[in-house]
């Protein structure tokens, strides 16, 4: 039967947990030390998700980039798609924290939002400008 190995991240111990599976179905889990570990591996097997945090372009702000995040974890396989989509985005200052940048990105039903506010500034107020 095929197996997959995971390093559990539920605690610092980092158990190596092995999953035996057939198709989409888990047949056996071994190597975990607690229930949290078992849950972690089930999630990782069936639907591994990650929060994506990156930046997009912004005009008229102190910095040329503004940090953004997915509101919750997106499926791991969709990370590349999300990154590609975000490359095309350019915002215009001022922007508030939590503003929606892309709704339902890559059909994940999850929004990408800004993770800080950036006010609109004049050229001389930009980062790196002389005071």
């Amino acid at each position: 039967m095929p197996t997959k190995e995971y390093t559990c991240t539920a605690c610092p111990k980092g158990c190596t947990v092995e999953v035996e599976f057939e198709g989409e179905e888990i047949k056996d889990i071994s190597g975990y030390s607690c229930l949290k570990g078992q849950e972690y591996v089930k999630d990782e097997f069936h639907d591994p998700r990650r929060i994506l945090t990156t930046t997009v372009k912004i005009r008229g702000a102190r910095y040329p980039r503004i940090p953004v995040r997915t509101e919750t974890g997106v499926p791991k396989d969709e990370l590349d798609c999300c990154l590609e989509k975000l490359k095309e985005v350019e915002l215009e200052a001022p922007v508030e924290v939590g503003a929606v940048v892309i709704e339902d990105i890559c059909s994940t039903d999850i929004s990408v939002v800004t993770s800080r506010s950036l006010e609109g500034v004049s050229e001389k107020e930009k980062d790196g400008a002389r005071l």
Partner: protein, 396 residues
């Protein structure tokens, strides 16, 4: 910011001096999530966490001075500031130094070889990418498996660079397990344990590095070396508290942490000068930094108000399997929190104060994760008459 907020809440006149163009420090470039779990019960990004506090500062009476720098700080708590409006002389009743830490540079770990561009601390690369919008390299090697090194590896991968490997001189990763999995395993980035960089090649720009295996004494093993072509070498080899102002003010430093020696109020041995956050010792979580800041703010207000705090006459010392513990002294008259790092990983342990019943059970402790425990009001009678509190970590 936490210390300033607490000071203002308690009715003190507070001035907050920041050399950058905005408040928030390193949080503003740490765009990944994982901040605020202890305080807010949610995983915020660094900028989100910082903004919650800058808003509170904005709503408070704190006098914020951006683009400003302390030129000199004297033990009597007078100082000269350089501000956009000129030099300012300030006489404070209490001073809290929340100056953070610096990354160790190439010079501090003495890697031989050429001196091309393309060798920098991981945090500098993080600033280039996340704030300035520059990519500092295309083919990258990372020395050190601390959290910054792991997180920047994922960040560079997401931005299209190829991270060819991470080397760690210890035989275990020094960053959090979660980061090893989510930043390296997820992208098949190899982690070379017991390895270090032993040479650097390149005339103007970095062209390659020499990677070698090390023995138990961390010495390179002959014949184990191989060359790797890269145009960027990032160093994630630890942080050192920014302690220049402590030194200038005559504050005693800890040999272990290089930060100030402090009591339970984060007061140093120069009365009225306090320190908190990474300036005292390198913390894992910003939440602890904030809580320490609140406490230092409380201490500073108490000191400024009546010029004294309960005298901290009980030494706190590191016992079995404890690398260091903060604070270094306590009064025993008020509840307090202590933070420690262990020397060796250990399972099923008690963290305890020797000679008392005060003890805390932990399933696992590792040097990479700081342990924080609280000594409550009810525990205090046990400490009466003790002149030294020895904190130890022992197997149950």
């Amino acid at each position: 910011m936490a210390a300033a907020i607490r000071g203002a809440e308690e009715g003190a006149d507070v001035m907050l001096v920041e050399r950058d163009i905005e408040l928030g420090g390193i949080l503003n470039q740490c765009i990944h999530n994982g901040f605020g779990v202890e305080i807010y019960g949610e995983e915020l990004t660094g900028p989100e966490y910082a903004e919650r506090f800058t808003r509170r500062i904005g709503e408070s009476r704190v006098d914020v001075r951006l683009n400003s720098f302390v030129l000199s700080l004297r033990p009597d708590k007078t100082m000269s500031l350089l501000t956009p409006n000129g030099v300012l002389e300030v006489e404070a009743s209490a001073v809290v130094l929340a100056t953070g830490a610096r990354e160790k540079s190439r010079g501090e770990i003495q890697i031989p070889g050429d001196r091309p561009s393309g060798v920098m601390p991981a945090g500098t690369a993080q600033k280039f990418i996340n704030k300035k919008g520059f990519m500092p390299g295309k083919k990258v090697f990372v020395l050190g498996s601390g959290d910054i090194g792991l997180i920047i590896s994922r960040r560079l991968t997401w931005e299209g660079a190829e991270v060819v490997g991470v080397a760690e001189i210890m035989d275990y990763p020094t960053g959090l397990n979660r980061n090893v999995v989510q930043c390296l395993h997820d992208y098949d980035i190899p982690l070379h344990l017991s390895h270090t960089v032993t040479d650097i090649y390149g005339k103007d720009r970095l062209e390659g590095i020499e990677l070698s295996r090390v023995d138990e004494d961390f010495q390179p093993i002959e014949g184990s070396s191989k060359d790797i072509d890269v145009d960027l070498l990032l160093l994630s080899v630890g942080l050192v508290p920014e302690n220049d102002f402590f030194k200038e003010a005559g504050v005693s430093l800890s040999e272990k942490t290089q930060g100030a020696l402090v009591d339970e109020w984060f007061q140093t041995d120069v009365p009225g000068i306090f320190g908190c956050g990474n300036a005292v010792h390198i913390e894992d979580l910003v939440d602890w930094v904030t809580m320490d800041g609140f406490r230092a703010g409380d201490g500073a207000v108490a000191y400024a108000g009546n010029d004294s705090l309960p005298s901290a006459d009980k030494d706190v010392v590191a016992g079995d399997n404890v690398n260091y513990v903060v604070p270094h002294e306590v009064s025993g008259e008020d509840e307090f929190r202590f933070a420690l790092r262990v020397t060796e990983p250990m399972e099923n342990v008690d963290i305890s104060i020797k000679g008392t019943d005060i003890s805390y059970f932990k399933q696992i402790v590792t040097p990479g994760e700081m342990e924080v425990e609280e000594v409550s009001e009810e525990d205090l009678p046990e400490l009466e008459g003790m002149s030294q509190l020895e904190i130890e970590v022992t197997r149950r």
